[in-house]
């Protein structure tokens, strides 16, 4: 429920900010640090059913804590924008509650080994952070190599392809003759 409410708050404030921006500002928003942000690439997927109660609660506690720290930082640097700062202040209150609640539940579920569970969860976050960084570096390297290949290897083939394209008919094309179903061509 809280997360849904936060999403509404972010969306509403985001719309207000977007509405105030000039049209061209959209193009400047092309840079998004997706490669460094957690989630959405399969590296951070959490299979809830596969986790024990204490490891799941440790994971949630650290995630809430990280979110609370991040939101606290955003709130600090948004002194020039009171409206957005207000959004973060409200959300930070919830995140702090989630952080404390998950910690209390972790202590309840695992009174003796909650510290160990937290350290395992921290190591897991460190490993996933490494994977994110490595994947971002690999992404940059592959882009550079492929772009170089594009300009070094492809020009001659591009000439042939462009010449062939000029001979293509417009409109209907006869259906290509059926290839065997075992073939990937």
């Amino acid at each position: 429920m809280d997360e849904l409410r936060h999403a509404h708050m972010f969306r509403a404030r985001g719309r207000e900010i977007l509405a105030a921006l000039p049209q061209a500002a959209d193009e400047g928003a092309a840079f998004q640090a997706h490669a460094f942000a957690p989630g959405e690439r399969g590296l951070d997927d959490l299979v809830v059913e596969a986790e024990s109660d204490d490891s799941l609660l440790a994971f949630l506690h650290l995630s809430e804590k990280a979110a609370a720290q991040r939101f606290a930082m955003y709130r600090e640097v948004l002194g020039f924008d009171e409206a957005t700062q207000g959004v973060f202040t409200q959300i930070l209150r919830d995140e702090a509650f989630h952080m404390n609640y998950t910690y209390a539940q972790l202590r309840r579920v695992s009174p003796k080994k909650h510290g160990l569970a937290l350290w395992w969860a921290r190591l897991g976050r460190l490993w996933k952070g490494y994977l994110r960084l490595a994947s971002a570096i690999a992404n940059v390297m592959s882009t550079v190599i492929l772009t170089a290949q594009y300009f070094l290897v492809l020009p001659l083939f591009a000439l042939f392809a462009k010449a062939a394209a000029r001979r293509l008919p417009r409109g209907w094309t006869p259906a290509r003759s059926a290839s065997p179903l075992g073939s990937q061509y």
């Binding site: 049209q23 959209d26 594009y150 462009k162 409109g171 290839s179 179903l181 075992g182």
Partner: protein, 589 residues
């Protein structure tokens, strides 16, 4: 004979299992992974299909992938070469995107399922669409048309299918239009231009079109011209989708139609700028419809057949479908419940069974309910854990009456019953239902539950035998409405009393419900009709914005708890939300 069909890696991946010529299970990956439009390899969907069919991977005779990956790769590389050097940004992305997993699908299937490579087959993308459209339709001879964004090379194809007297089946593709000329890409380009998400916001363009007048038709015809042979060709100066993955329209497109709408900015068709976007949407819609009607007319003349089976993502355009039915000369039009890529999983499996292996035709039940069956008892358990009282009615009659009471009292009901639908529409088994009589209900649904734009219409469901009383259905319209595939006028005298489902132009995307396909839903409509005098309910998909339609009772319950749905009914189990301000047992603790 056990055949597993798989579609994946573009949008909306899915799996389907066909045993001895009949589908036994089919589901989209998103319904299980809970990621909207999940395009990943559909491992969960495959596992569920095999479980549902009680089949192990070793027992599979064939596994069919819905398109030919190498042929698709050829198209991608050729397009990049043709657009050199403008395609330099697209090249690294395309290579990384394709070479990572998509090109090695045979190995992926082998490693996940453990089946030998010799058992893996590949149909062509539009073959799969055609097979889904024709082989699941209640017809034995029909013309076939498929249209989408792009498959391998084809973007639109026409042909015919026949089930012969000896039970053998043929599907013949006569000709095709090839990439980059594509009706699907044309519509998606307007979708992006109007600030909506491509492959998701096309419904919004169609809904918005009703608010506008097609005053930009001549401009749209500049970007898509008809060719002498009766097909069409896009003027690629107006498009960028063949050069880059970052935008679909070019600067020339913006020069022609003006500045694009910013995503997320409010869109009010009553304002001047909103009206302009609505007019552009109406113009794009008109040209799409005109083109499809002309293509269908030619196909009707050429084949002389009475039935048309229409597949591909473009077939989700209900307004265009209604015009095809009215104007093309075909007597019946069949659009499957999942005409898009998800349905290709089933289409590919059926193609192998009927056409490739030449096995005898078997009549396929004409319904969309091939997904996981909801477990009513799960609702009681989850509600109890959450401290919400869950009533279990003693008989089905009592449960139906309780739901009718709630609907008649203006409550919004989350309704889950039986097997989930295959395809993007909730057709009475995973639906949010409400009384369709007032515009206030529509506004409430938009604001409290669906969190979506006000210009988007809601659909009505009505028993098929009385559909014509409330809606102006052309001959063949009622069967087209079985899967909500056509948009038809609401009869003038009912528009005031069906205000929540009557769009601004007086139309509605009608679902005609048959007793033998959805008996409980049908019975609910009949009982509601007896109570209120109008056997029509508002039926919208059971999900929140940005989420897939619910599958299991627990998902229905969490959705129910997060939005303004008043009552949740799963079989004979019913949970009613307490009045505002009342806490449930868990919250009180």
């Amino acid at each position: 004979m056990k055949i597993l069909g798989i579609s994946a890696h573009y949008h909306d991946s899915a799996a389907a299992l066909v045993v001895d010529g009949l589908p036994v299970a089919a589901v989209q990956e998103e319904r299980l992974s809970r990621k909207k439009n999940d395009a990943a390899f559909p491992l969960e969907a495959i596992e569920w299909c095999l479980r549902a069919g009680n089949v192990t991977p070793e027992e599979l005779d064939w596994v069919v992938f819905y398109e030919k990956p190498m042929l698709k790769f050829e198209r991608i590389v050729t397009t990049i070469l043709r657009e050199f050097p403008a395609s330099w940004r697209a090249f690294p992305k395309a290579m990384k995107n394709t070479l990572g997993e998509k090109l090695w699908i045979k190995g992926v299937i082998t490693s996940h399922l453990g089946v030998p490579g010799s058992k893996i087959l590949f149909t062509e993308h539009h073959q799969s669409h055609a097979a889904m459209a024709f082989l699941t339709a209640p017809t034995r001879r029909a013309a076939i048309m498929t249209a989408d964004g792009v498959g391998e090379w084809a973007t639109l194809s026409v042909g015919r299918g026949e089930v012969k007297d000896d039970g053998t089946t043929t599907i013949e593709v006569l000709r095709e239009v090839r990439f980059p000329h594509s009706l699907g890409m044309l519509y998606s380009t307007f979708t992006a231009f109007l600030g909506f998400e491509v492959n998701e916001g096309e419904y919004k363009v169609m809904g918005l079109a009703s608010y506008g007048s097609p005053r930009f038709v001549d401009d749209v015809r500049k970007v898509i011209a008809r060719t002498d042979d009766g097909a069409f060709a896009l003027d690629m100066r107006y498009f960028d989708y063949h050069k880059t993955s970052e935008r679909s329209f070019s600067a020339a497109f913006v020069d022609l139609f003006g500045p694009p709408r910013k995503p997320h900015s409010p869109l009010d068709p009553t304002t001047e700028s909103g009206r302009r976007y609505a007019d552009i949407a109406a113009s794009a819609q008109r040209v799409l419809e005109d083109t499809l009607v002309d293509l269908a007319k030619d196909l009707r003349r050429e084949t002389g057949l009475a039935d048309l089976c229409f597949g591909g993502g473009v077939a989700l355009n209900g307004c265009a479908n209604a015009r095809i039915l009215r104007e093309s000369g075909f007597e019946r039009l069949f659009v499957p419940s999942a005409p898009g890529d998800a349905g290709c999983a089933l289409g590919a499996a059926l193609f192998v069974d009927r056409v490739h292996l030449g096995r005898k035709h078997r009549e396929i039940p004409h319904h969309p309910y091939w997904g996981p069956v909801v477990e009513p008892g799960e609702l009681s358990r989850v509600a109890a854990e959450d401290g919400m009282p869950c009533e279990t009615l003693s008989t089905d009659d009592a449960a139906l009456d309780r739901v009718v009471d709630a609907l008649a009292a203006g409550k919004i009901v989350g309704w889950m019953d039986g097997a989930a639908e295959l395809g993007p529409r909730a057709l009475g088994n995973r639906s949010i239902l409400a009384a369709p009589h007032t515009a206030a209900m529509r506004d409430r649904l938009n604001k409290e539950i669906k969190y979506r734009e006000e210009f988007r219409p809601f659909a009505p469901a009505v028993p098929i035998e009385v559909a014509d009383e409330y809606f102006d259905l052309p001959p063949g319209g009622a069967p087209l409405g079985a899967f909500m595939s056509g948009v038809f006028p609401v009869r003038e005298k009912w528009r005031d009393r069906l205000a929540a489902v009557t769009h601004v132009d007086g139309t509605a995307r009608v679902q005609t419900v048959e007793r033998d396909k959805a008996p409980r839903f049908y019975e609910l409509l009949k009982r509601y009709g007896r109570r209120t005098g109008i056997p029509v309910l508002l039926n919208t998909s059971f999900n929140l914005a940005g989420e897939p339609i619910v599958t299991r009772a627990v998902e229905g319950y969490t959705t129910f708890r997060r939005c303004g749905i008043d009552v949740l009914a799963v079989g004979r189990h019913i949970v009613t939300k307490p009045a505002p301000g009342t806490k449930n047992a868990v919250e009180e603790q």
